[in-house]
């Protein structure tokens, strides 16, 4: 037994001292549960943590590779420990427990007395006991430090091998693959994810994983890791006699409970590890608890998932602080594979181990879908395996957990949507656990809406924690919340905002059918209140795409976002940017000189944009008319960079110059840009035309993109860069010029008519029923008989188009708004200041001493306010 080597931290009279060893996922959850209990006020809490950082989301560890930062993964909000008076000691692991003196010693030699001790030490990765595993290039996969080491090492490696084809191994393989390594998975069992999926599912899973470029070796063990001369791993010797060349190895062959401390202080541990606890998570010593992956629970198992760990945390917290007991007797083992790009999920009794269980299987090797449900003798769903399409996981898992006989024939549940007879959605009972990470039932979620006033998924998440773990329940969560809201007569989901109980598409139809021309009339007849910054710009956009007219006229002027209001883009310091249209990106030397001259004269910052044109930044509101006067005089017009409207049609040089070009892509791009300029839409529209399949204009990343073929044009739709990139889909092939333009006309108008607010064509295409096929039927085959209508609308747009800036300059009334101060026209905003950098200006940052630029503030149609009184 260890003897105190440092003065004992005093046991405060009257305040019981709780010491927690391990600040992982379960440890943190224990703290949260503990401090929420009334009894916690009388406790002093100390946490001894081995890792150098507070608890983080280990479940989403792999997302670190795709850019999620360590901070974003944290589970412990910055002020958490301080707020609750918790003494959190990072980077100082416990090294010994003395149960006789009730003390814990740490690596730094500090000694802590305890009244109650909680062990939440988790697991360590199991590394098979074969020679060579200490060679450079060998890794495990458990902590942020581990993944950081893997990434650093992967930079110099070419071939990665993952030992272990379970859930975690496949995640690790996905990460190696994503870092560009040729990747192998070596699994001793005859199939991947043997614990979770059955043979049928395993076969399909293997195919899918191999389709992603990961080589799978099943039924072989690792016999040794072979190092090269440098001491770095060069290969693995396999049990089938073969050698697998690899210069980076990740062991992911299971985990073992970290029960060493408990063993050494004489606590009982299981034969295969795990600290033995009862259903209150107490060890044989009533002052010591164990929770999470280090515990062997009363159901005789060590649980390697976070949901049971969280349940134990809750149980132990109550046992420690004296809440109502919540015995832990076992837990759900459902899992869903994240990240690799293969959909696999298993839940409940996936292997049909229950007496009398029967399988219902649907397997379609060609489309790569496998679904198996295990049904009990009484007709209750017990569990299942889903591969290739896990869409129903969120509903099936709670259904299985509820253990009630099914209302729906199981056969129907495994069939693909199209084949299953249509009977409404499957109803979950109230006691079904929707979120197993946080053990939240459907009833609890409904209560959050009904009794606690939550009106949205984010609110319900905050209030119940549902959906804040692995995230796999969020879809069902949404359905339950919406269902509950609907049953109380609130329809939140499809409302534009509090002022209109309509979607954008519905408002579009109202405006079109009733010929509404003003916001006032629309809100009076179909809405409530004064409107807001959501509905006003939407209505402005609908009015603009249907009625035409200048967007700054009459009441419309009051609806536009500030960008549309000033026909320019607001920048961070309140100045504006100016983007003249450069159709197809083609510009004459004179045009370039004009833009350069204007930017120089007004002291603006210039930059070539990602849209093949030139942006001038730093203009004051007062300067916009003068700048545009010069641009318009030189033949430029608005580029609509400020509007939800057509932005650019990018082009490549095409046949005219390029030796590969097969059509005149620049000419078509210019034509399309001129045709659709000024077209207001639910979100911005981008386009491009490439002169051949080499695709230099990146047409497949655009809302509508055109690629030349030797016999015409291919039209792609629904492409997107930005936050959620999407490759465009081929809508129609080998079109002649006129057909192409006609189909684009229809496509755009159909999108404008049916899309939601701020919905790019990509999300719209993914959302609307029937997807691409439906859109093709409507705009190519005229299945709804509306094409003539759509074309007519576009013809009206083309005819009514006028340059907004030229029209603004021609109208003194519209020009009046371009002043910084109504009572001091001509005085620029003194708060807008700049500094110089790389020969140009940029906005001064806070703390920087910037200067307002000394430059001409020439306002076209200058006037001075004349008081009439």
């Amino acid at each position: 037994m260890t003897r105190p080597t440092a003065p004992l931290a005093p046991r405060h009279a009257g305040r019981r001292h709780v010491v927690l060893i391990g600040h992982g996922m379960v440890g943190q959850r224990f703290l949260e549960a503990l401090v929420a209990l009334p009894g916690a006020a009388a406790l002093r809490i100390t946490v001894l943590a081995e890792e150098p950082r507070p608890a983080y989301d280990r479940v989403h560890l792999t997302s670190w590779f795709s850019g999620t930062s360590a901070d974003e993964l944290t589970l412990c909000p910055p002020g958490f420990a301080a707020e609750h008076g918790i003494d959190l000691r990072l980077g100082d692991p416990a090294t010994a427990i003395d149960r006789a003196t009730r003390t814990v010693t740490t690596a730094s030699g500090a000694v802590f007395g305890y009244d109650t001790l909680v062990l939440a030490t988790g697991s360590y990765p199991f590394v098979p006991p074969v020679p060579g595993t200490d060679a450079a290039g060998c890794h495990v996969y458990r902590t942020l430090d581990d993944v950081a080491a893997i990434r650093a090492d992967a930079a110099g490696a070419r071939v990665g091998a993952v030992v272990g084809g379970g859930l975690l191994g496949l995640e690790a393989a996905g990460a190696l693959r994503a870092m560009g390594l040729a990747t192998h998975v070596v699994e001793f069992a005859p199939r991947l994810m043997a614990l979770q999926v059955d043979k049928g599912g395993g076969d399909l899973l293997r195919r899918k994983v191999e389709d992603l470029g990961v080589r799978v070796h099943t039924g072989v063990g690792t016999q040794a890791v072979l190092a090269g001369d440098s001491g770095r791993v060069r290969a693995m010797a396999l049990s089938d006699g073969g050698e697998l060349a690899a210069d980076l190895v990740v062991f992911s062959a299971g985990v073992r409970p970290r029960d060493q401390l408990a063993r050494e202080c004489g606590l009982e541990v299981g034969q295969r590890g795990g600290i033995v606890v009862d259903d209150e998570c107490r060890t044989r010593d009533p002052r010591v608890h164990a929770i999470g992956e280090c515990a062997l629970t009363s159901d005789g198992r060590v649980h390697g998932l976070v949901a049971p760990g969280y349940a134990m945390a809750e149980t132990a917290a109550r046992a420690v602080a004296g809440g109502e007991p919540a015995p832990f007797t076992g837990a759900d083992t459902s899992t869903e594979l994240k990240l690799l790009g293969v959909d696999v999920a298993s839940f409940g009794d996936a292997h049909g181990a229950t007496q009398g269980a029967l399988d219902v299987v649907y397997s379609d090797g060609r489309s790569g879908v496998y679904r198996k449900l295990v049904v009990g003798g009484d007709g209750a769903l017990l569990g299942g395996v889903l591969v290739g399409d896990t869409g129903s996981y969120g509903v099936l898992r709670p259904l299985a957990a509820a253990g009630r006989p099914l209302d729906t024939a199981p056969g129907q549940l495994v069939l693909p949507a199209g084949l299953a007879p249509a009977t409404g959605p499957v109803e979950l009972p109230d006691d079904a656990v929707v979120c197993s990470c946080h053990n939240v039932t459907k009833g609890r979620i409904r209560a959050a809406v009904a009794d606690e006033g939550c009106t949205s998924v984010p609110e319900v998440k905050k209030c119940t924690k549902a959906g804040t773990g692995c995230g796999s329940c969020v879809k069902v969560l949404g359905t339950v919340v919406d269902g509950e809201l609907a049953s109380r007569g609130v329809t939140v989901e499809d409302r534009l905002c509090e002022h209109f109980a309509h979607t954008r598409a519905e408002l579009y139809d109202i405006v079109r059918v009733k010929g509404v021309a003003t916001f006032s009339r629309l809100v009076e007849e179909h809405g409530t209140g004064e409107g807001c910054d959501v509905c006003k710009p939407v209505v402005a956009s609908i009015l603009a795409s249907l009625a035409g007219g200048h967007i700054l006229d009459g009441e419309q002027a009051a609806l536009q976002d500030t960008n549309d209001h000033f026909l320019a883009n607001l920048q961070r310091n309140g100045s504006y940017s100016v983007v003249p249209r450069v159709p197809g990106g083609e510009i004459t030397p004179e045009g370039l000189i004009t833009i350069g001259g204007i930017a120089r004269d007004f002291g603006l910052y210039t930059k070539i944009t990602g849209g093949q044109r030139i942006d001038m930044f730093g203009a004051a509101v007062d300067q916009l008319p003068a700048i545009w006067r010069r641009l318009v005089d030189a033949g430029f017009e608005s580029g609509h960079a400020y509007g939800k409207a057509l932005r650019t049609v990018k082009s490549c040089v095409g046949q005219a110059w390029c030796r590969y070009g097969v059509q005149d892509s620049s000419a078509l791009a210019i034509e399309l840009e001129l045709r659709y300029r000024g077209l207001r839409s639910p979100h911005k529209l981008k386009s491009a035309v490439s002169g051949c399949a080499r695709e230099c204009a990146e047409a497949q990343g655009k809302d509508f993109g055109v690629i030349a073929t030797s016999s015409g044009w291919n039209l792609y739709v629904g492409g997107n860069g930005g936050m959620t990139p999407r490759h465009a889909d081929l809508l129609a092939q080998d079109l002649d010029h006129d057909t192409l333009v006609r189909i684009i006309d229809r496509f755009l108008m159909f999108y404008i008519r049916t899309a939601d607010r701020l919905e790019r064509t990509s999300t719209w295409l993914e959302r609307i029923e029937g997807g691409l096929d439906h859109v093709r039927a409507v705009v190519v085959d005229d299945s709804l008989g509306i094409c003539a209508d759509l074309e007519e609308l576009m013809a009206r747009h083309v005819e009514a188009y006028e340059d907004e800036w030229a029209a603004t300059l021609a109208d003194p009334d519209r020009l009046r708004r371009f002043t910084s101060f109504v009572n001091a026209p001509g005085t620029p905003d003194p708060a807008v200041t700049f500094v110089r950098e790389r020969g140009q200006i940029r906005p001064a940052r806070t703390g920087e001493h910037g200067t307002p630029l000394q430059r001409p503030v020439l306002i076209a149609g200058d006037r001075v306010e004349v008081r009439t009184a």
Binding site: D533, N563, V832, D862, A869
Partner: protein
């Protein structure tokens, strides 16, 4: 420079918007300078004030500085309502403020920790000039 009168009719031009700085009322602009539902910035003794007129004709005045971005842009925001509350949305990051007391309805504090509240000036329309 040319001198012009505002293009609206003479009666409307007679109505003026005034705000009170704690000592006295100041004329800041003509009612017709404000588009219903929108605002304009005015300079009042070196301070920037955003004045607005809603669809019913009520006028409001709040600080022009958006506490979230530090830019003086509130006058370029949109008026609206949240339930019974008349609101103003900042054009920068779209935070919504109560026009009556200047309090932000979305967040309590700005990124620099200061309270997210716009100073409010009493505002009125008057023809008695």
């Amino acid at each position: 420079m040319t001198l012009t009168t505002t293009s609206a009719g003479p009666r409307a031009a007679l109505e003026s918007v005034e705000i009170h700085d704690g000592r006295r009322w100041h004329h800041v602009c003509a009612l017709t300078d404000l588009v219903p539902g929108r605002g304009a910035a005015v300079l009042l003794g070196g301070e920037q004030v955003a004045v607005f007129r809603d669809r019913s004709g009520t006028v409001y005045a709040v600080a022009n500085r958006d506490p979230f971005s530090g830019a003086h842009v509130m006058s370029r925001g949109l008026l609206g309502s949240r339930g019974p509350v008349p609101t103003l949305a900042s054009p920068m990051y779209k935070h919504v403020f109560d026009l009556r007391d200047g309090r932000c309805l979305d967040e309590d504090a700005a990124p620099d920790g200061s309270p997210a509240v716009l100073r409010v000036w009493p505002a009125r329309r008057t023809t008695a000039r």
